[in-house]
């Protein structure tokens, strides 16, 4: 969202309550409503590539949960006999599905949170109370990619060392297209293509398995060496980082922060919606609305439509961000 700025503190509160609700609610109507509205929100915010990656991992995981839970959990009144004496319970299946859904909702909530709150805004919340930790986080964010790129450089060099000394270890030139072979024939006495020798040596490697273990040890040694060089290089450079921090007055006085987020009207409005709806939902939860008993016997039927004030409050609780996203689209179109 670009046209409305909401204080990161409010976001944090809102998403925190969402995560709690994901675990508390077990009534399928509530859970499915939650999921549907969350999906709409994420669709509006834009699906990130990270979410796609997570989903690739999550879908098999959820299937595993749904299959494994009934196999391991035998409690429940409604038995379904599959063969002979082997049975699973209906309650365990329902529980497995609800658990998978809850997990899905939590993942979606976090993904939406990442879209709404940048890490800078996160830092803003923490920098007041925990200035040192937020400084360490900032430095780590700089340092980790840096050390990564250094390790890549060192590794490149290490590859060269291997193929520079003996050609048997590394495939130096793997572009084995037709042209290469043709030209090899043309001046075969002068140019010895490394492709062929490599191919041979690889075959030999595969035949001699003890040579392979030797190569594993060699790999491990190489990796250790790469790490060693990277770390000592980084330490050497860190000395300058430390000097530069000191030269720019680090530890001279208490740190302040350049980040500033003002608490505006939108924040008050948002906060009011959260407080009112959460209060109503809490009353409902105390009365037992939104939760069902699964064990020992499931007490839910789809004919009990949950049309009451608590369900309405729950829907309203989930709407503000969707409203703001839609409003933003209308504003852009104008």
């Amino acid at each position: 969202m670009e046209l409305t700025s909401i204080h990161p503190g409010v976001y944090l509160l809102y998403y925190f309550i969402m995560v709690l609700f994901a675990f508390i609610f077990s009534d399928p109507y509530f859970v499915l409503t939650f999921l549907a509205l969350l999906l709409i929100l994420i669709a509006l915010q834009g699906v990130s590539s990270e979410l796609k990656n997570i989903m690739k991992f999550f879908i098999p995981l959820s299937i595993l949960i749904i299959i494994l839970n009934p196999l391991l959990n035998r409690t429940g009144a409604h038995k379904i006999f599959l063969w002979n004496n082997f049975f699973i319970t209906f309650e365990a299946i329902a529980y497995g599905i609800l658990m998978a859904l809850a997990l899905l909702i939590v993942i979606l909530v976090f993904s939406s949170y990442n879209k709404s709150v940048s890490y800078q805004e996160m830092l803003y919340i923490f920098s007041k109370k925990l200035p040192i930790i937020s400084m360490i986080i900032i430095m780590a964010l700089r340092f980790i990619p840096l050390i990564n790129s250094r390790a890549i450089e060192v590794q490149k060099l290490n590859n060269l060392k291997n193929n520079g000394i003996d050609f048997s270890d590394e495939d130096e030139c793997n572009a084995s297209d037709d042209i290469a072979i043709d030209s090899n024939k043309m001046d075969s006495d002068e140019f010895n293509s490394n492709i062929n020798t490599d191919y041979d040596s690889k075959l030999v490697n595969k035949l001699k398995s003890n040579k392979r273990t030797a190569s594993i040890i060699k790999e491990a040694k190489n990796l250790g060496k790469i790490m060693g060089i990277t770390v000592s290089w980084s330490l050497e450079e860190s000395m300058f980082t430390a000097k530069s921090m000191k030269a720019r007055g680090y530890t001279a006085t208490n740190r302040t922060s350049y980040l500033s987020y003002k608490f505006g009207n939108a924040d008050y409005f948002f906060l009011a919606v959260i407080i009112i709806t959460v209060a109503i939902i809490m009353v409902g939860l105390i009365k037992g609305v939104g939760m069902i008993n699964i064990c020992p016997s499931i007490d839910f039927s789809f004919s009990n439509l949950p049309f009451n004030i608590y369900y309405l409050a729950f829907i309203i609780f989930l709407l503000p961000l969707i409203y703001l996203e839609i409003k933003e689209r209308i504003l852009w179109r104008n």
């Binding site: 700089r142 520079g164 000394i165 030209s183 000191k246 302040t256 922060s257 350049y258």
Partner: protein, 614 residues
């Protein structure tokens, strides 16, 4: 009252065992720097430039014994309070990467302001001011990893300027930048000095473009101030000094040589920029024309020869180019052959496109071109670190490649140089080939325990014979002049020394082809000359050398073949002297200076020959 005053200041570092070193790193320095001065510090590596600069900054003062005093605004440096020391004196380091602390540009610029406890509103005001002045709006929210070296150094500078310093101490700030980024950086420093009267003390090796607008030059040698004068005077002061003469701009060197022959010139002010230099040449316009047009017959002939030679060369180049394509693959001397190379780090963003290249035996080839044009990528493809997406690289059977990375530091993994050398020897097959059968762990240990001299003289190492170079081990070490470094930790050596050690390591591996990525980066003029001598004599020994460089003078003086990269391919492949003679902008300072009279001359030595100067 001067802004900075050194009174009889001396400094010695601590030894590793905690005692004070006998050698004085700074010896009896007396110096005054006034408000708004632009001061250039010059001197060979290790002469005490950095020591002098760090002693000016309370937070960075090295441990050691100091006598005398340094005053800043009349207050001793040690007695400045933390905040005013951090604000008033800004210190910029050499390496743009290592001094960045945080991950985004805005965070980095805000960092010092947060440190000294300025309220949020004020911080934002100051950042907005700096951003407006430098026009870095576009990169403000970028991650620092996405910036180029020049941009990083600019961000570092901004991060100092938000504190509103009175003095900027710059420790070779441009040594890691390419020429274009250097010019930009320098013009900003100049603007800060002229428009805001910020005092600047800068150390730098390549002074050509700095000399025209500095107030004072200080030449330091072995911790002592040898010369301290304004830019015009110092040029005549150091004429006969064989070290500092090298630091002068090319224009001044030409003027100095000319004024011996044409005394009428010495009435003029010493020229520092090309503009002033051209004016001087105008004074003796007639004489110069005479030299060119046949006052001297032999000269005339040689110039005609040269031009003819250039023409012929162009001609032959074209011909061989076509012939090459017809008689595909007939070149028997090629050690490495690249054919139809395509390369990209990510899809849709080609770095190299259909590159063909042959590296022949005994060549000294250089690779030039703008920043980010793919020079390093080209080298890495050539040595096989990167794999081409399409096309292939072929090597002559049995050749050994040695590659020296831009940052020589990453070649080291051992505790001292001795071990580094032994590692290279063991990795190569030299020991087996030279019938040293009894080399085992014990003899390795024994070699490690030896003193420097014994190590260099040891029979095992001196028994080795290399394919391409005639040197024995001892000769090699002495030739590179690294006898004293043998038992040092590689990280304790200076950049130039590290470069030499890596090259020796490569030679000990019996390399046939030496591939160097920016070996001239950050070298002082003397080391640069030494490196040129070393590389030339290795070439004469039969080694093949390929290097990238931004130093056009170095290329023009030493290489016989030069590749200029442009638009994903090798655009020009010719003698560097021909290339620079043809170029108008991307050429050496000497050539820019004398283009009107002798357009084919690109190096100082050629000019001296041509005009028969001393």
């Amino acid at each position: 009252m001067a802004l900075i005053e050194f009174n009889n200041f001396s400094f010695s570092y601590l030894n590793s065992d905690g005692t004070v070193s006998q050698a004085k790193s700074l010896d009896n320095i007396n110096l005054e720097i006034n408000y708004g001065d632009f001061v250039l510090l010059c001197g060979p590596s290790g002469c005490g430039k950095t020591t002098l600069l760090t002693n000016l900054k309370k937070e960075l003062m090295p441990a050691g014994r100091r006598t005398g005093e340094i005053k800043f605004n009349g207050v001793k440096i040690e007695e400045l309070d933390d905040i005013s020391s951090a604000c008033d004196i800004g210190y910029l380091f050499q390496n743009p990467d290592s001094q960045i602390v945080t991950d985004t540009v805005i965070q980095e610029i805000a960092f010092p302001l947060e440190n000294i406890g300025i309220p949020t509103e004020e911080i934002r005001n100051r950042i907005s001011e700096i951003v407006a002045f430098f026009g870095i709006n576009d990169i403000l929210h970028k991650n620092v990893n996405e910036l180029s070296g020049g941009q990083k150094q600019l961000v570092n500078l901004c991060s100092l300027l938000v504190l509103r310093p009175q003095v900027l101490l710059l420790d070779e700030p441009m040594s890691q930048l390419d020429p274009i980024a250097s010019y930009e950086f320098l013009s900003i420093i100049r603007r800060l000095n002229e428009e805001f009267s910020i005092t600047v003390v800068m150390s730098e090796h390549k002074a050509d473009s700095i000399f025209p607008f500095i107030d004072n030059v200080i030449f330091i040698k072995d911790g002592k101030i040898e010369f301290d004068d304004n830019a015009h005077n110092i040029c005549s002061d150091v004429i006969d000094d064989d070290i500092f003469e090298n630091y002068l701009p090319a224009v001044t060197k030409i003027y100095n040589s000319l004024s011996v022959k044409y005394p009428s010139l010495s009435k003029l002010n010493t020229p520092l920029s090309i503009r002033e230099g051209r004016r001087c040449l105008n004074e003796i316009h007639d004489d110069l024309i005479k030299i060119n047009d046949g006052g001297d017959v032999s000269n005339n002939l040689s110039s005609a020869n040269l031009l003819h030679h250039i023409n012929k060369k162009y001609h032959s180049q074209e011909k061989t180019g076509i012939l090459d394509r017809i008689s595909f693959g007939k070149n028997k001397d090629a050690l490495i052959r690249m054919k139809g190379i395509y390369f990209a780090y990510e899809k849709g963003n080609l770095i190299l496109k259909n590159v063909d290249f042959d590296l022949n035996k005994g060549e000294f080839v250089s690779l030039i071109g703008g920043n980010g044009v793919g020079k390093s990528t080209f080298l890495q493809l050539l040595v096989g670190i990167l794999k081409p997406i399409k096309g292939n690289v072929k090597y002559k059977k049995g050749i050994n490649l040695a590659y020296v990375h831009q940052n020589p530091m990453i070649h080291f993994s051992k505790d001292n140089v001795k071990e580094e050398f032994l590692e290279s020897i063991i990795e190569s097959n030299l020991l087996n080939r030279n019938n040293v059968d009894d080399f085992n762990k014990e003899s390795y240990e024994m070699l490690l325990k030896m003193s420097n001299e014994e190590f260099i003289e040891s029979d095992i190492l001196n028994g080795l014979e290399f394919d391409n170079i005639k040197f024995k081990f001892k000769d090699l070490i002495e030739f590179f002049d690294i006898c004293d470094l043998i038992d040092k930790h590689p990280y304790d050596c200076s950049g130039g020394e590290q470069q030499k050690i890596v090259i020796v390591k490569a030679l000990l591996q019996n390399a046939d082809v030496l591939i160097l990525d920016e070996p001239t980066k950050g070298l002082d003029p003397i080391s640069s000359k030494n490196l040129a001598d070393i590389l030339n004599s290795l070439r004469d020994n039969g080694l093949t050398i390929l290097m990238t460089s931004h130093d056009l003078d170095f290329v023009a003086n030493n290489c016989k073949r030069c590749l200029m990269m442009f638009d994903k391919n090798i655009q020009i492949d010719d003698d560097p002297k021909v290339i620079f003679a043809e170029n108008n902008f991307y050429t050496t300072f000497v050539n820019r200076m004398v283009k009107e009279y002798v357009p084919e001359i690109v190096t100082l030595d050629d000019l001296k020959d041509k005009w028969s100067l001393e």
